[in-house]
Symmetry: C4
Subunit: 197 residues, 4 copies
């Protein structure tokens, strides 16, 4: 089964998720500077979620690039990932509207955690049907970052009971962690070979 | 006429339908656990509809994969299917907001029923222009599941007058029915041949 | 310049337009049959606009299929068409909410008229850069239907001052007019040749 | 790394941004002519933003057409551009609702400015990995228009303190500036060669 439509559908869903989040940035009715103030936490939540979804799209893009074929299990594992990603906008809005109070911060972390688990299941499903495909194995690697993210997310949820800013700092840390090494691997790939479009 | 744009447009519409449903999960204004409680039935409805739309996308994907060409009748049969699918979000929201009371449950079943009929019309339209295409015939099969779903949906609508939970159980049953055999057929296909992307 | 991304972008915009219209079907808060009643005119408007957008997508699909290349003027002519189509959801909602009273019915007709004009400009722009392309000339034809639609729409707007139901009947007439001949041309094409995907 | 999915994802996001802006044109509840009046500034904002997004899509289309491959830095530079574009709908709505008062006009200019900067970063990132690609260098050129736009936008923000209509006039000027030369370059390209799809 070709992977083209799976990529197209996932692109569509991720593009919509990343864009409808902005609808939560409700337009203030006055044109004063102070009327923008309540939007600040909502905006910070939006920025963080935008980056997370960008990371997911980038990783999905890399992984599917190395994939040769898909099957029904992959379709469902992918749908499972999209389901958890689709809940990010509501968790983002709840967290932003309530100025990062405990419960929304925990829910946000929980949904990121489930998305991480779903991504892991998807990658394992793909590896199982591509035994012998070295490119895919390299693209996914030992998934140390994925496992580490899950551990940090669990920690973030627990430490929210100490202070929610610890959780927020850990969410930001994960984003940075994914942002930087991606570029490092990239540079290595570039030196090795230049892939034509 | 090529099938590429038909697939792209259908992917777009289905991706949007599956994602805008989440907009009905209205953000609660308080950050308390009990403020999430009214969201539970809405969330359950969302989950069920997400699975139904995932099933439709998977089936559409399978069927169109075996298709070689399309014509104007197919375009309209496909639009007809998308029309009924586009009504799922509103039926989902109504059902969730009213805690699965009778009328919304019936409307939900009715829209699923019409989508099922529309899918059947689409598959028959495709078969008619592909006489001699064995792959398509296999992909669609005798459509026993499709016919059975329609019967169960009619039953679910009638039995809602006894109790709406019977209807809901039947809706879940159909979802399970489609989820499992899909994977069984898949495994058979995998053993037979591995389709490259 | 390739036509691929133009088609993809247009598909995306048209898919979103056709789907966000359903957001105007606001969920009633009660689960009573009479609470669905105010939705009836909104639903009829939705159905009509869905069919119009389906016709536009089908025609766009047919026309672009015959096109070999595009240029900057085509990109802008296409954007112009998408602009008027993007206003259909708001005109639809206004017409539905106000039970087809005069002003919304006129505005709806005006936007359809402008979309028709925009489509005509797009087709002429395409013909100008494809001199000698017989397939495109056939796909567009003398555009008698397009010109007739514009005349009927102007008539519908004028006759709204007699009664808005005349306008509505004419809007439905145009939809039927496009729906039927499409299939006739199709059948002719089918007899002549079967285009592989 | 192929550029196909990058284009598809960007198309998706830009298609959604350009379309959800229309949701801010809230349907008036009465069917009177005067009830459309408050929509006029919102409509003008919508029209301006639609044209800006069309320009961005056109330029993105031209630039990516000349691109042969992308890397991780390009993915992030592209996401950065999409982020600022995603904020255009809210700035548009705020500006329209407040009848072009100073603060919203400044915010609108600021977001256009940041989008311009993000586009410049994207183009530079692409040039850096395509040393020796003359087609891309031509497509981007010395980016005089891009730099000029940034200067005019800074000016527009400063001059908003004199009068906001000066800023608005400058925003319109930039749109015209991009709209016209695009067609001039195009005509030159057309005379030289006809690119097949």
């Amino acid at each position: 089964m070709g992977k083209g439509r799976l990529e197209a559908f996932s692109d569509g869903v991720m593009a919509i998720i990343i864009t409808i989040m902005v609808l939560e940035l409700k337009v203030p009715h006055e044109a004063e500077l102070h009327s923008l103030q309540p939007l600040i936490p909502v905006f910070i939540s939006y920025l963080l979620s935008f980056i997370y979804l960008a990371i997911y799209w980038n990783n999905h893009h890399h992984m599917m690039h190395a994939v040769k074929h898909v099957n029904g299990k992959v379709l469902w594992a992918n749908m499972h990932l999209l389901f958890w990603l689709s809940l990010i906008p509501i968790a983002t809005a709840w967290m932003g509207e309530n100025h990062f109070s405990r419960l929304p911060v925990i829910l946000y972390g929980f949904i990121l955690l489930m998305a991480g688990v779903a991504y892991y299941i998807l990658s394992q499903t793909l590896i199982r049907i591509h035994s012998g495909n070295k490119e895919l194995a390299t693209a996914i690697g030992s998934d140390r970052k994925g496992k580490l993210s899950v551990v940090i997310l669990v920690l973030a949820i627990i430490l929210s009971f100490v202070h929610t800013w610890i959780s927020m700092a850990l969410y930001v840390l994960i984003a940075i962690m994914w942002f930087i090494p991606d570029r490092r691997i990239e540079r290595k790939l570039e030196n090795g070979q230049t892939l034509e479009s």
